[in-house]
Amino acid sequence: MSESSPITNQAAASTKRLPGDLAIWFFIMAEMVAFAVFFSAYAFTRAGHVEMFNLYQQTLDRNLGALNTVLLITGSWFIVLAVQAAHRDDQKAISRNILLGFLCGGGFLAVKIIEYSAKFGAGISMSTNTFYMFYISLTFFHFMHVILGMVILAVLWFQSRKGVYGSHDANGLESGAAYWHMVDLLWIVLFPLVYVMR
């Protein structure tokens, strides 16, 4: 099921291959389906209550949302650097970049907690109205995925410190990286959908 043949940067560029393990891709597909169903439910419900959705959308903090977008994209960039470092066997750069990616995730959580405390402090809950039900459900579901992604990054960091990853075997690192990119990708859909699009 897995392919972990030793490859170089050049080989990676010239031959098509699935980075990471096939199993993680099944998992990512399932996660994306879950979010896709949630996004569609949001879209269809919004179509029936456009004015209400537009009204409450304005209460969301778009600046914090944009900051979080930057944090996650930067985090994904560090993980790309970590994978590239693995393929050229630069052990120090692997763990340094994973750590930086992890910190970006931590930054995302901190910003999100600030945002949530403002909303929950104002007495908003999932039962307030349908818009807030979706806002809280979607962002919290994503929040939990950021936490899971960070747990995976933490495992990758510990493994990388032991020198597990390199040009001989980057399967585990690539699998974790793919998952982290998914967390990023989902936010890139979620942020415009819930915070921006009118």
Binding site: M1, S2, D21, A23, F26, F27, A30, E31, V33, A34, V37, F38, A41, M126, S127, M133, F134, S137
Partner: protein, 458 residues
């Protein structure tokens, strides 16, 4: 048999089959009471027959799980069971407690049974599937803890394989979630809310881990496919199960007084619940197609493929049928639920136990596989029971659709009992399919007593 102590599984399997027979007999009585309301009344009223039918199901499945685990864990851990004596003692305690409970249901009015068994100390009785008197519930906890202690100690002194770990997580989860049967808040919404933590998180959560792990074990043994490949599939299935199944509990929270967001959470997550079951179907067929050896036990492979398909149909497809809130608004608590319940329990849990028994029993009796004659009979029973269950499900689905229409959708809705009379034809057809199922079960039991030339033990 690789380890002598695996032999403790045998009485568990025999008891499981015995209780299975009881479950089916009471199912037939119950099915007849749907059309002949006073059949066996007042000796066995409808509510008692129903309780015995469902409780016997749960208990035989638990016996099967325990037997399967006692067989599998020593082999996976590559060491003898920590204490075979404890396992046998627990067998007798569980069997006697189970038998006494059923005798209690059948001989004493339920309210009297509750008064006799200290229900006033902690009120736990009177709730569907968790009707057991307090001493029985406590007995289940003791047996489960001793069982888990025994297996955990075995694993600690031996090898720790991934599929054994998944099994143990499933079994520990089973014990932990059973504890919610002791929590019975006065508020009826909260009561139902936490009741599902036992019922749903068993069958659509931790039991699926047990199912996946048993399936993986038998597939490794019969196909010779690399353990690494099988473990990877198992990981994917387990993760999908937990992602969809845990929040999927929400599909039971429609219209019972919980906040409205459960309609969204329940619909979305439970709509994903068929995916892990589909994963299991693909898994079973894929591994059998990639097999590196022809195992002499063809019947066990048939059960493995069967459980892959039937669990997907029963739990996945028939579950999805009425899981979305707008659909469930009409179908809640109708015969559609009964249709789903029958095929899901048979396809997922009855069949996986029968698969484990089919694989393990010949080995426990000193041979790699049964004689060809015996296996042919067993495969006949497979088809008889499975096709009978398909028909039971189809007839109940038809009854359910008609019931929903007559009672809830039409412009002139009929009262419940009037609608019930209109769908009797389907109840009769279901009863005859039930008789066919019983014939299949008799053939199954006969297959254990058929000789012929036996395959030599490995």
């Amino acid at each position: 048999m690789q380890f002598k102590s695996q032999a403790v599984a045998k009485p568990y399997f025999i008891a499981a089959i015995g209780l299975f027979v009881g479950q089916i007999l009471f199912g037939l009585i119950l099915g007849l009471q749907y059309v002949l309301g006073d059949f066996l009344f007042p000796a066995i009223p409808f509510n008692v027959a129903r309780m015995v039918h469902t409780n016997l199901l749960i208990v035989w499945l638990l016996f099967g799980f325990m037997g399967g685990a006692y067989f599998m864990i020593p082999e996976e851990s590559e060491t003898e069971l920590f204490s075979p004596k404890l396992a046998l003692a627990m067998f007798w305690i569980f069997l006697v407690a189970g038998a006494l409970t059923i005798v209690g249901y059948l001989t004493v009015p339920y309210a009297t049974l509750a008064a006799m068994t200290g229900n006033n100390l902690i009120e736990t009785m009177g709730r569907e599937f968790l009707e057991q008197p307090l001493p029985t519930k406590l007995g289940i906890v003791v047996v489960a803890l001793a069982f888990l202690f025994n297996l955990t100690m075995t694993m600690l002194k031996g090898k720790k394989t991934a599929i054994a770990m998944v099994l143990m997580i499933g079994l520990w989860g089973l014990a932990v979630f059973f504890l919610f049967s002791f929590y019975n808040p006065v508020n009826v919404v909260l009561d139902k809310f936490f009741w599902w933590w036992t019922v749903h998180l068993w069958v659509e959560g931790v039991w699926e881990l047990i199912l996946g792990s048993f399936l993986a074990f038998v597939l490794i043994k019969t196909t010779g496919v690399d353990r690494e490949v099988i473990e990877k599939w198992l990981y994917v299935i387990v993760t999908l199960t937990l992602i969809s199944g845990i929040i999927g509990t929400g599909h039971h929270y429609f219209w019972i007084g919980t906040p409205e967001y459960w309609q969204w959470w329940g619909s979305i997550f439970s709509a994903l619940e068929p995916i892990p079951f589909f994963g299991m179907t693909v898994f079973a067929f894929n591994m059998v197609n990639r097999r590196r050896r022809e195992h002499p036990n063809k019947a066990a492979v048939l059960w493995a493929l069967g459980t892959g398909v039937m669990s997907f149909l029963g739990a996945g497809v028939w579950g999805f049928l009425h899981t979305l809130a707008p659909v469930n608004y009409y179908t809640h608590g109708t015969q559609i639920t009964a249709a789903h319940g029958h095929m899901a329990f048979y396809g997922a849990y009855a069949m996986v136990n029968l698969m484990m028994i089919s694989y393990a029993m010949p080995i426990l009796r000193g041979r790699a596989a049964n004689s060809n004659k015996s296996q042919v009979l067993e495969m006949w029973s497979f088809w008889l029971m499975t096709i009978a269950m398909v028909f039971i499900t189809l007839f109940l689905t038809a009854a359910g659709i008609l019931q929903v229409w007559l009672q809830r959708v039409s412009d002139t809705p009929l009262p419940f009992m009037v609608a019930q009379e209109k769908i009797q034809l389907f109840y009769w057809m279901r009863e005859w399919a039930g008789v066919a199922f019983l014939i299949g079960l008799i053939v199954y039991i006969t297959s254990f007593f058929v000789g012929g030339e036996e395959e030599k033990a490995k």
